[in-house]
């Protein structure tokens, strides 16, 4: 009983500090951009001031409408979108590593990224606005789901879906879609670079519409995966022992797979293929808070959000006024940190 309370207090402390970190990172990156306060690109007197940002946020005081537009319509949606996508990818990664009992698992392991890439590349080459809506996003999302649908049905065997089958089917279908992407890249003209940039992943075209589109799905998906943390804990001990304590393994696996896929697909469809977050953030959090999914999922989610917000701030400020695709930054800065943690805890128990 005492241990239980102590653990609860520890968990609350962890969540609280991660929340503080997240809020701090949001404010931090609101300050960053060519128009200042942190950034170079315009003369000092034209820069947006620190107090001005707070005034704009609370809607009081006087400021040029351009500044308001930059803070509220360009920076804020981008930061929120980074947060949502970081959280979604990290959570999906956590769940995938859980059901596959494999440290190499990431949200992209079943080829979602290749499916989405094919959809996006197709939309880019055949023209951007076939439905009046953003067809890149729609096709990326649809093909990501199609990929999983195919993989799942290939892997299905006598009503069950063994994880080994899933992995192999995922690799096969993923390679197939990659080949199709290569073919499209080959026949593409000026659109080639648009495809290449999309593949690298980035948030430069963030908008409020994308935030509205992503937010409900991501939050609900994350919440449902969190509801299954106990099942994930038990499944880590093996599917047979999970069955012995009364868990419907196949159904649980299916639900976790569906929601991981949904939140990954929505993330990829708006931001392209951002690597690393979904693979390594869960590992980093496992090293820091342990492998109990009840704390691992919420803390990976918060850390994923913070991490992507901060790396995106770097991505848009390192070589101003141009920017680097955030996918490059996530790996460039995340990997050394991960290696550091790995070396520090040499005798880590992964699972």
């Amino acid at each position: 009983m005492f241990d239980h309370r102590k653990r609860l207090i520890k968990w609350i402390t962890i969540i609280f500090s991660l929340l503080v970190l997240l809020i701090f990172s949001i404010f931090m990156s609101l300050m960053i951009g060519v128009m200042g306060p942190i950034g170079k690109g315009v003369p000092d007197k034209e820069k947006i001031g620190m107090e001005e940002i707070f005034q704009i946020l609370i809607g009081k005081g006087s400021y040029p409408s351009t500044h308001k537009s930059i803070i509220l319509d360009i920076r804020l949606p981008r930061i929120l979108l980074a947060g949502i996508i970081g959280a979604a990818l990290a959570t999906a990664g956590c769940a995938m590593q859980g059901i596959f009992r494999n440290p190499m698992a990431s949200p992209y392991i079943l080829g979602i990224s290749s499916g989405a890439a094919f959809g996006a590349a197709l939309a880019i080459v055949i023209g951007l606005n076939i439905f009046g809506l953003n067809s890149v996003q729609i096709l990326a999302f649809s093909f990501a789901l199609l990929d999983i649908f195919i993989v799942y049905n290939i892997a299905k065997y006598k009503g069950a879906v063994p994880t080994e089958n899933l992995l192999l089917a995922g690799i096969a279908v993923g390679y197939f879609f990659s080949a199709l992407v290569s073919f499209i890249k080959y026949i593409a003209g000026e659109e080639l670079r648009t495809i290449v940039f999309w593949l690298m992943g980035g948030l430069w075209n963030a908008s409020w519409e994308k935030v509205y589109m992503t937010f409900p799905l991501a939050v609900l998906g994350i919440f449902i995966l969190f509801l299954f943390s106990r099942e994930l804990n038990i499944m880590l001990t093996g599917e047979i022992s999970a069955m012995s304590v009364g868990i419907n393994v196949e159904q649980t696996k299916k639900i976790i797979l569906i929601f991981s896929t949904l939140i990954t697909a929505i993330s990829v469809s708006v931001a392209g293929i951002i690597g690393f977050v979904g693979l390594i953030i869960p590992h980093i959090m496992r090293l820091l808070v342990g492998s109990d999914h009840r704390i691992l999922i919420p803390s990976s989610c918060l850390m994923g959000a913070t991490f992507l917000i901060l790396t995106d701030a770097l991505a848009r400020s390192i070589i101003q006024p141009s920017e680097i695709p955030v996918g490059i930054i996530t790996s460039l800065f995340g990997v050394p940190f991960f290696i550091y943690l790995l070396r520090r805890k040499k005798t880590v128990r992964w699972w």
Binding site: I70, D73, I74, V136, G189, T194, V196, W204, E209
Partner: protein, 303 residues
């Protein structure tokens, strides 16, 4: 388990509804006074211009060159990183590229008009309601002349634009009136190399059109893709009379020293040339490119 199932179905229902709902979000735009100029841009949008733009951001190198050529250089407040001609461009603020534009920098410059390539649209969608955006998509020499007229109209430089168009047209005619009578056997076979060995220009590209206008035949003119990769064997078998390589590609020396290429006519006769990449795209300088190509293809006719 049943409770959970119910929650999940509820969630799916909510998701589907929000997805459809957000799809129908249509931005409502208030009606303004009658626009001075209304035009359809390169992606089929209606662009309305209320008064002559004073601050222009150009994210398309061709538009940048056109603006300078019709005397609107000082109206340009920002350019993309691929705009590099004329040299005055380096004094302008850079706002990223079409592939990753810095939206904040663009909005911060408070432009009255933003001109961009059609393929930048997906990245510029978030600011379409804040800045007047015109996308351009010139596909042929005729399109470029049309674009010059259009930009002249918008910038209230109709005469200057017309002058530029007429000058270009007369220079183009000087060449085409000679080349259009050439029959197939009088036209040299041309292999035009892009970034790497074998990568060339096929149907539907500017360069392909320019090669024909200059009196040559592109060995890849019938390829279905715009930028196909030809094999060594095919190039050697077609035996081009002239090889032109774009300035960012291989050097003339490297092409001459390629294995198995020694017997190609172009190399035996020392007819391998390097051309500035700006001279073969949709910029006003394409006439310079056309004149160069004509001189290389038919030194006896153009001197």
């Amino acid at each position: 388990m049943d409770g959970k199932k119910a929650v999940i179905w509820l969630v799916i229902a909510v998701l589907v509804l929000t997805a459809f709902g957000s799809g129908y979000l249509i931005a409502y735009k208030e009606t303004k006074t009658q626009a001075e100029i209304t035009l359809i841009d390169g992606v089929g949008r209606v662009v309305e211009i209320y008064e002559t733009p004073k601050r222009v951001v150009s994210m398309a190198s061709s538009a940048t060159e056109i603006l300078y050529a019709i005397g609107c250089g000082e109206n340009i407040v920002g350019v993309d990183k691929y705009s590099d001609y004329p040299s005055d461009v380096k004094n302008k603020t850079v706002v990223g590229s079409s592939y990753s534009p810095n939206l904040e920098a663009i909005v911060g410059l408070e432009p009255d008009l933003l001109i961009a390539w059609w393929y930048a649209r997906d990245n510029l969608l978030p600011i379409e309601d804040k800045v007047t955006v015109m996308y351009i998509n010139p596909q042929s020499v005729e399109d470029v002349l049309q674009l010059i007229r259009q930009i002249g109209l918008i910038m209230n430089k109709v005469e200057e634009a017309e002058e530029l168009v007429e000058e270009m047209q007369s220079r183009i005619e000087n060449i085409t009136k000679i080349t259009e009578d050439l029959n197939k056997s009088q036209r040299p076979l041309v292999y035009y190399e892009l970034s790497k060995k074998g990568r060339t220009v096929g149907q539907g590209t500017f360069t392909n059109e320019l090669i024909y206008m200059a009196g040559g035949i592109n060995i890849a003119a019938d390829e279905p893709f715009r930028y196909p990769d030809l094999t060594d064997e095919y190039i050697i078998a077609r035996n081009p009379d002239v090889i032109v390589v774009v300035s960012y590609g291989a050097s003339v020396e490297e092409i001459k020293s390629r294995n198995g290429w020694q017997n190609i006519n172009a190399i035996k006769n020392d007819r391998v040339y390097s051309i500035d990449r700006h001279l073969v795209t949709s910029s006003p300088r394409l006439v310079d490119g056309l004149e160069l190509l004509a001189k290389w293809f038919h030194p006896e006719l153009f001197d």
